[in-house]
Structure formats: structure tokens, C-alpha cells
């Protein structure tokens, strides 16, 4: 009993530290990365290569005055940023970030590096919590009593629902080929080779599904080219126009947390988790756990860089283009992927 709690507590603390550490790192990567892409220097005054800039930024944000504008709905206005962070943090507990190598901690099986290992419906849990991620945007936009914020919130809700449909249909292909809702088993199903020479990752066996999921993830995390809810050229700052100080920081932080969670999900579902291409490593003992987490981390880091790269490369969609893409292109393509997986499984290719 007590050992159970300690093991879960250790894993929770570990997950929290890892997740929260990615935020300042990603802020730095984003600022330096955008500078690199736009051929300028970026922050380079504080610390070597400007590495301490995020720390200074945080201190600055915390030291600012917390302003509650007149006319807001106080309860919802304060709850919205809190919900944003809660949602972003709680999706992470069902995501396995390292292989279950039979390790024991104080005589208790660790069950791999996932906080909730006994969740039969891990994937559904993640989507259930993630589908709640649109509420903070909606509530912030509505409770701010500001027309730009309201427009941002309304856009966020329409966008989230449109892209969630394509996203979930794209997932069905993965579920069919691996036959389970447990994320650990989905990763295990992607080991070995497919068709004799390709790694058995879902990105190779269902490329359309992977593409759809990736695009939908950009829309769900409100990153460019889908950042219509905040569209700074039209809506000032969209749903968080009226937020300042720590409350603004909460929204800012949740965006990066969502990115990390999304990158981990793409890794688990389509990039084979901690599996290395063409090489079968048994991942045993502490070395195995660390190795599997390292492989997983490298894949996630690459995807996170991809997020930054796309943001500073593509322009923003127009709103009607965004909706047309979601309903007329993504949903039919996702159904096509679903059909392909069914046919491939029936013919024994998968």
C-alpha cells in the first residue's frame, strides 16, 4: 500500500519535473529558433547563448501586476488559466515515456515509466482530458467581456471540434492495427520490421493517418498555421487579450505543455515510441530504462523542433480556409486511412 503510493508519487514528481522543465527550454528554442530562421540573433545577453533568458522572463512575468479588468466574470475569469494548466498537466500521466523492463523499486514493480500503468483505456483517457482543453480558451474569451477575446474563444471552439473529428478517425487506424487501447502495448506492437525492410512504425504503414494526426495536433495546440484563436494580426491576442502577469503566464505555459504532450503522443502512436529502427534492443534493467527514455526523448525533441520550424515557416490560414481544410480534406482523408488499414489487415499486410 505505502510502497504503491511512494512509487506513484516518485513517478508523478518525475513526470512533473520533466514536463515543466520542457517549458523554459522550449521558450528558449522557440526564440532562438525563430531568430535563426529569420536570420537575426535573438536573445543572447543573459547567460551563454541567452540560455538564462527564460528564467528572467519568468521573474518578469511574476513581478508584474495582476490586473482584473472591470466587467469580467470573476470566477470563470480566474478559473480559465487554472483549467488550462490542469488539463495540460493531467494528460501526461497516461503516456508511457520508457519501457517496462521489469524493474523494481523498494520491492514493487515499477511497470514502466508511466504514472497510471493499469489504465486499460489509456488512449481514451488522454483524449477525454485533451478534449477538455478547449474550455479554458472558451471561458477566458467569454468571461473577459472583450469582443476580441470573445471572437478568439468562439473560433477556438469551432476549430477544436472540427479537427478533433479527423484526429479521432485517424487514431482508429492505429487502434485497429495494434488491437488495444493501452499505449504501452501500442508501442510494443510497433517493434520489428514491416514488409521486410521498413521499421514497423505506424508512420510507415499508415502515412496518411500520421499526416492527418500531425496536422490536427497543430490545430488542437493552436500553433501556427492554425493559431486563429489568438491571431495577433486581427484579434490583438485573442482569448488571452485581457490577461496579465501570472495568469497570462499560465496560458503561455499550457501552450508549451500541450506541445510536449502532443509530441509524446505522436511518438507513441506513429513513431514507434522507444523502438529503434531495424535494431532490436531488449531494454533490460536500469540501463535499458534509461536508453528507452533517451530514444523516446530524442524523438519528442525532434518533433518539438518541427513544431517551432513550422511556426516560423508557414503563414496563418484564413478562417474559412481552416474550416474547409478541416471538413472537406482532413475528414475524408482520415476515412481513407481507416479504409486502407481495414483492407491491409484483411489481406494480411499488417
Amino acid at each position: 500500500m505505502w510502497v504503491d503510493l511512494i512509487v506513484i508519487g516518485v513517478k508523478l514528481a518525475f513526470g512533473l519535473v520533466v514536463l515543466l522543465t520542457t517549458v523554459p527550454i522550449m521558450v528558449w528554442v522557440e526564440r532562438r529558433g525563430s531568430a535563426l530562421i529569420q536570420d537575426r540573433l535573438g536573445p543572447n545577453r543573459v547567460g551563454p547563448l541567452g540560455l538564462f533568458q527564460p528564467i528572467v522572463d519568468v521573474v518578469k512575468l511574476l513581478a508584474k501586476e495582476v490586473i482584473t479588468p472591470a466587467g469580467v466574470r470573476p470566477l470563470l475569469y480566474i478559473l480559465a488559466p487554472a483549467i488550462a494548466v490542469i488539463v495540460a498537466l493531467s494528460t501526461f500521466i497516461a503516456i508511457p515515456i520508457g519501457k517496462d523492463s521489469g524493474l523494481e523499486l523498494f520491492g514493487h514493480a515499477v511497470n514502466g515509466f508511466i504514472v497510471a500503468p493499469d489504465l486499460n483505456i489509456g488512449l481514451l483517457y488522454v483524449f477525454a482530458i485533451a478534449s477538455f482543453g478547449v474550455y479554458p480558451l472558451l471561458l477566458a474569451g467569454w468571461s473577459s467581456d472583450n469582443k476580441y477575446a470573445l471572437l478568439g474563444g468562439v473560433r477556438a471552439s469551432a476549430q477544436a471540434i472540427s479537427y478533433e473529428i479527423a484526429m479521432i478517425i485517424a487514431i482508429v487506424g492505429v487502434l485497429m492495427s495494434s488491437g488495444t487501447l493501452r499505449l504501452q502495448q501500442i508501442v510494443d506492437a510497433q517493434s520489428g520490421v514491416w514488409m521486410g525492410f521498413l521499421p514497423h512504425w505506424n508512420v510507415f504503414s499508415q502515412p496518411i493517418g500520421a499526416l492527418i494526426f500531425m496536422v490536427a495536433v497543430f490545430a488542437e495546440t493552436n500553433r501556427l498555421p492554425f493559431d486563429l484563436p489568438e491571431a495577433d494580426a486581427e484579434l490583438v491576442a485573442g482569448y488571452h487579450t485581457e490577461y496579465s502577469s501570472i495568469r497570462f503566464a499560465a496560458f503561455y505555459m499550457s501552450e508549451y505543455l500541450h506541445m510536449t504532450v502532443a509530441a509524446s503522443l505522436v511518438t507513441v502512436l506513429f513513431l514507434g515510441g522507444w523502438n529503434l529502427p531495424w535494431i532490436d534492443i531488449p531494454f533490460e534493467g536500469w540501463a535499458g530504462v534509461l536508453l528507452s527514455m533517451g530514444v523516446f526523448g530524442i524523438k519528442v525533441a525532434t518533433l518539438l523542433w518541427f513544431f517551432v520550424w513550422v511556426r516560423w515557416t508557414l503563414p496563418r490560414f484564413r478562417y474559412d480556409q481552416l474550416m474547409a481544410l478541416g471538413w472537406k480534406v482532413m475528414v475524408p482523408l482520415a476515412v481513407l486511412n481507416f479504409l486502407w488499414v481495414g483492407v491491409a489487415m484483411a489481406l494480411g499486410y499488417m
Binding site: 486499460n120 483505456i121 477525454a128 477538455f132
Partner: protein, 168 residues
């Protein structure tokens, strides 16, 4: 013991917020109460061992249907709705009758199910509830399942037709 306490708390939250879904005259509050109620329902499902239903409850209701409700309310800027009891008297009477009918039916069903207490879906314990529910939908209840898809297609066609408006 712990399970009973969690159940009582979840059930109390569900009842309180079900009432709050109907009573306040501010539609946004009503929808947000419904969101919390659907979370409490998901908790009840989870306690009963129906993990799949719990997740689906949140994905479908909190995640999609109620977001659409909020979207419409914000888009139309509905600030307040009519006070309770401002409808026709016959509405209150019909509403009370329907509520009493449904409540009575549920009590009868609960009474009938009492001897089956603790029974779960066959196979649910080993594999979780997703597998047996999927199996049942595509075998025992195949007709109802296919019929619902037909109904949904009809609804979509109707919605598109209404949304298109008059031909110019």
C-alpha cells in the same frame, strides 16, 4: 468503503449540478453545470467498472456536445432566458408528468436489477470494457447499431438541407 464514499460524493455532485442545469436563468451557467454533471456521471461509471463508458461520456458530452452548446450561446449572445414558470401552464403539467414517468420507470428497473448487484459485463474484468462493448454492438445489437447510423445520416442530410437555406 472508499468506493461508497466516492460514489456518494459523485452522485451528490451529479444531482446538485443537474438541478443547477435547469434553475439559473443564465444559459452559460446552465451549460457549465451540465459539464460538471457529466464529469460526475463519468466518475459514477468509472466506479461501476465501466472505464470505457466513463471516457466516452467525457469525450462525447463534455468534449464535443457541450462545447457546441457554448459555441451557439456565445455566438448568439444569449444573456438571459425567460424566468421559470413563464411558459404555458400545460407545459409545467406535461413536464411534471414526463419527469414522474421516467423517474418511476427508473425506480422499477433498479428494483428489477437489484438481485443482479455486482454483475459486470462478461469478460470485462480481464480486458476492460471496450472489448465486450464493441463485441456486443457488432453482434447482439447489430440491428440497432446499424439503424442508429441510418438515423444519423438522415439527421446530417436534414441539417445540411436546413443550413443551405433558400436557393437563390
Amino acid at each position: 468503503m472508499v468506493v461508497t464514499i466516492i460514489f456518494l460524493v459523485a452522485a451528490a455532485i451529479a444531482v446538485v449540478f443537474a438541478v443547477l442545469t435547469v434553475v439559473p436563468r443564465d444559459p452559460t451557467k446552465n451549460v457549465l453545470s451540465l459539464v460538471i454533471m457529466s464529469f460526475a456521471m463519468a466518475a459514477v461509471f468509472a466506479i461501476l467498472g465501466m472505464d470505457f463508458l466513463a471516457a466516452i461520456q467525457i469525450i462525447v458530452y463534455s468534449g464535443a456536445v457541450l462545447v457546441l452548446f457554448l459555441f451557439v450561446i456565445m455566438l448568439l449572445k444569449i444573456r438571459r432566458i425567460e424566468a421559470l414558470g413563464s411558459g404555458r401552464p400545460v407545459q409545467a403539467l406535461l413536464g411534471a408528468l414526463v419527469a414522474a414517468g421516467i423517474g418511476g420507470m427508473m425506480l422499477v428497473v433498479a428494483g428489477l436489477l437489484l438481485p443482479l448487484q455486482g454483475a459486470v459485463l462478461p469478460g470485462a474484468v480481464e480486458t476492460g470494457t471496450a472489448f465486450p462493448i464493441g463485441r456486443a454492438l457488432l453482434s447482439t445489437h447489430l440491428f440497432a447499431f446499424e439503424f442508429i447510423t441510418l438515423l444519423l445520416v438522415a439527421a446530417i442530410v436534414g441539417a445540411v438541407y436546413l443550413g443551405k437555406g433558400e436557393e437563390e
